[in-house]
Structure formats: C-alpha cells, structure tokens
C-alpha cells in the first residue's frame, strides 16, 4: 500500500495517497469540493469546471488532477466560490430549468448547488432555448431542457459491447446529447435505471415514475449537498 502524502487545503494540513484525485483526497480529509460532472467509478472529464481549485496558485479541476505530495490547494476561497456560483448560474440560464415543475426537484444536484451557493437569481440573462423533450424511448425520457451536458450518461452507460448509448452531438453552444435510437430501444431495465441515477439533473427520467418522495423528505430538502463530507 502506498504511503500517505501530505498536502494542504486552504492552509490545513491533509493526508492522502499520492495519485488520488484531488476531489477524493479532499473528501478523505472531510473537505468538500463541489462537482456536477464527476462520478465515482467513471473516468473524470472536467466538463462542468465547478470543482476548479487553485493548485500551487494554478486553476485546475479537482476531479481530473491527481494529488502529488506537497500540493498547496485553495478551495474554500471567495474567488473560487464566486467562480462556482457563476458557473451554476450559467448552467441555469443556458437551459430551461423550471424547478417547480421538475420531478427531480429536491434531488437535483444542480439545484442543490444553487442552494448551497445561495443563488437568488442568475446574474446573466436567460437564453430560454427551444429544446425538445424526447419521449420516444421505451424506458427513459430525455428532457433536453434540463440537460447540463455533464457527460455522465455518456461516460457511465455503455451497452454490453462497450458501445455508446448516449453521445455528444454537434459542438459549442449547439452541443446536445444524442440518444442512440436502437440501443436505447434495447436498454435493459438495469441500464435504464443507471442512466436515470447518474443524471445529476432531471434530464433523464424514468417513464413510469415521478414525484415519489414527498416534499420535506427529499435528498436536499433539509441538508445542503456536501453535508456528508
């Protein structure tokens, strides 16, 4: 077993194994670094940029950067927290996030982060993009209005031959998730559930189930996201 290396987060001495991602290393030391796109067991992508920290002064994403000994990491600073809030606000204006009517409300990681960073209103104008809801698949509904393009579904859900069921289509501001019609049609229940589970927002929903948990008992009703760290 590799030896523990020491590093600091916001000046506090921490220990973790070299090569651990900074986000995990921080968690092991009870320091929370927020993320939307990172998912345990799936290669990191650095898509949302919310986990940006300063490593020895340089902006890096904590999900993709591996720990090396002696790193001095800034995390809970006003600069970085405002950066994260700004990114959350950008995601809110980019799509159509109608929390009051969303089945994922209360369990949505984007919303929970907005709570944690006390987003009252995004500082940017809303785009109100015209986006479809794709209900053509037997087990899942893909609501593009709510998609934040974190690529979790792309990375985490493949078919038994390793082929992509979800993929990015187009690029830039036009980027959206493409759902392979054939493979989505053959999606097993287990994979469909996984696709729903990995989605941090309400962009991939099961067809036959909604508003299961009463308000007040949902994941982020009482405690902010990251409280478990």
């Amino acid at each position: 077993m590799a030896e523990l290396s020491s590093f600091t987060i916001d000046g506090l001495k921490c220990m973790a194994r070299e090569g651990t991602s900074i986000i995990d290393a921080a968690r092991q030391n009870s320091r929370y670094i927020p993320t939307l796109c990172n998912l345990e067991g799936v290669p990191p992508k650095g898509a949302c940029r919310i986990c940006s920290v300063r490593v020895n002064g340089k902006l890096m994403t904590a999900c993709t950067t591996k720990l090396s000994p002696g790193m001095e990491i800034e995390n809970d600073t006003s600069e970085l927290n405002d950066l994260r809030k700004a990114i959350i606000e950008m995601l809110f204006v980019e799509g159509n996030h109608f929390c009051p009517s969303c089945e994922k409300s209360g369990e949505c990681e984007l919303q929970a982060l907005a709570y944690r960073y006390k987003m009252e209103v995004p500082r940017y104008p809303y785009f109100f993009p015209k986006r479809p809801i794709d209900a053509s698949h037997p087990r899942i509904v893909k609501d593009h209005n709510r998609c934040i393009l974190c690529k979790r579904c792309v990375r985490a859900v493949k078919d038994e031959k390793g082929r992509s069921i979800f993929a990015f289509l187009d690029r830039g501001f036009e980027t959206r998730i493409y759902v392979d019609p054939d493979l989505a049609g053959q999606l097993t229940e287990e994979r469909a559930r996984k696709a729903v589970e990995v989605c941090p927002v309400g962009a991939i929903m099961p067809r036959d189930e909604a508003f299961k948990t009463p308000i007040g008992q949902r994941m982020y009703d009482k405690k902010p996201i990251g409280s478990d760290v």
């Binding site: 159509n96 709570y115 009252e120 104008p125």
Partner: protein, 183 residues
Amino acid sequence: MQKPVIATASLAGCFGCHMSLLDIDERILDLIELVDFNKSPINDIKEFTAECDIGLIEGGCCLDENVHVLREFRNHCRILISMGECAIMGGLPAMRNGISVRECLEEAYLNGPSVRNYNEGKVLPNDEELPVLLNRVYPCHEVVKMDYFLPGCPPDAELLWQALTALIHNKEMDLPYEVFKFD
C-alpha cells in the same frame, strides 16, 4: 416615525406568492403594525396613492399590461422585490417561451380540446382593449431593475417574513437552509 409603505402586485403569476405572504399566520398582525399597505390586491387599492418604500412583485411579464404595471411599480417604489420563481425566471408561464405566440393562441382558442368545437368563428380574441401577449415571458429584472430576489414556488412564508422584517429594520437576514428553495 412614519411606517414604511408596501405595495404588491401579481403579474403573470398564480397568486400563490401572495397566499404565502398570508401564510405568515398570526404575524400578519405584527406586519400591519409595522407597515402600511398601498396598492395591493390584499387591500384592493387599485392605484398608487403614495410613494412606497417596498414593492413586492409576483409573476413575470407575459403581457404588455404586466410591463406597464411593473414600470409603474418601479416609478413608485424605492425598493422593488422579485417574489417567487415567476418573477425571477418567468416560472411556469415561461414554459411557453420557445413556442410562437400564434401557436399558443391557436392552441388556446382554436385547436385545444376544450375549445375545438365551440369557437365557431375561429376567432382569436383581438379587441383593442385586451392586453397583448409578449413574444415570450420575461423575468421582471429583464424589464426593469429589481433590487432583491426571494426564490421559491411559492417562497416560504418564513423567507418572506424574514426578508420584510430585515428590510424594515435594516438588518442582515439569517435564513435557515430549509426555507431557501426553488419549489
């Protein structure tokens, strides 16, 4: 010292935020001690009769009339507050953003299942007296400057109470996590 004056309005909203304001229960009596109400559906005063300290706006702007009312509030209120999701981001009415006005009107007056067989003249209401639909629903701060934002659908009564008393007493708000919600 004169009591602060409050005005309220519901634009493209459902009055749920106003209901939530009433949901402060017995503290409504304290509120009446603390402030005077001017133009508001709560007391049914239709026109401004005084300059106000605080304006509470529920709902976004989906009609030209909403814009006129909002601008009037901006002119008469020192502090203007977006109350609830519709005022802040358009809310459920804004789900029509991205659908053309014509399609909305046709669905509502010509093609919808509840009207299909009854609108014999196939008329879209067009009287000059009627307000005009805007091309989309606008959050209030995309029309005039708004000073504060109280999220929620509706905002928790506790949030409204805390915000109002904080403003009136010129204090910082100390909000518990549970009351700051978007739904």
